[in-house]
């Protein structure tokens, strides 16, 4: 084939691979620095989203960018295929579980928080817990399900389409 038989102008793969490795490390360093920055700001100045907007934008934008690029290049569905081949639990199910888990966790967090802050006596605390827990579940469960399982499903479908198109051409 071309890449083995024909003497063509080639880039030094070793250098490119090493550079990509360094870029990967830089990405990890930036993510860790952002997380440290968020933790430090919360510790020093208290919990305020406005203080950490830049860090959150960097964290979320890079994640969204990766997902969109991986889906448009068709490798997102390939990653899922490889994962599902080696794992007993399919990635789609894992995303549903993560969405459900986070929804229940947030519900429990707000429920317990309300029971502790506003509850007066055991029964009253229990009522507060149940009401806030159910209300939080109603809000956050669909939100996290759409965020994780929904976006996963959309990205996987788009990636599959891009991948099939690549093979059809």
């Amino acid at each position: 084939m071309k890449w083995l038989s024909k003497r063509q102008k080639i880039a030094d793969e070793r250098i490119i691979n090493m550079q990509n490795k360094i870029y990967k490390e830089i990405y990890m360093i930036v993510m860790v620095l952002c997380l440290i920055s968020v933790a430090m700001k919360y510790y020093l100045y208290g919990i305020d989203v406005k203080l950490v907007t830049t860090e959150l934008v960097i964290l979320f934008a890079s994640g969204i960018y990766y997902t969109v690029r991986a889906a448009s290049l068709g490798i997102f569905s390939d990653e899922v295929e490889l994962h599902d081949r080696n794992s007993k639990v399919p990635m789609s199910s894992k995303n549903v579980y993560i969405g459900l888990g986070l929804g229940v966790f947030i519900g429990l967090f707000f429920g317990i928080r309300s029971a502790i802050i506003y509850g007066n006596g055991l029964f009253n605390s229990l009522v507060y817990f149940v009401i806030v827990f159910i209300a939080s579940l109603m809000i956050y469960l669909p939100f996290f399900l759409v965020l994780f399982a929904g976006s996963f499903s959309v990205a996987a479908k788009a990636s599959k389409k891009a991948s099939e198109q690549d093979l059809d051409e």
């Binding site: 084939m1 890449w3 083995l4 038989s5 390939d78």
Partner: protein, 68 residues
Amino acid sequence: MKNIKLKVARVAKDLSQDDLAKIVGVSRQTIGLIEQGKYNPSLNLCVEICKALSKTLDDLFWEEDEEE
């Protein structure tokens, strides 16, 4: 340029792209793109494919015509 030799060797072994992908440990699309000549596999991947199909690198990845 399409890698017809790879496709022929795979079919001769009665393997689908998916079967070969599973043996080698890559996605089906990667095998498809190699057969279509749209992806240049690393030497390691070439060797794994050759082993899976009981062929040599020359058999699958050497284009005689271009040398002549």
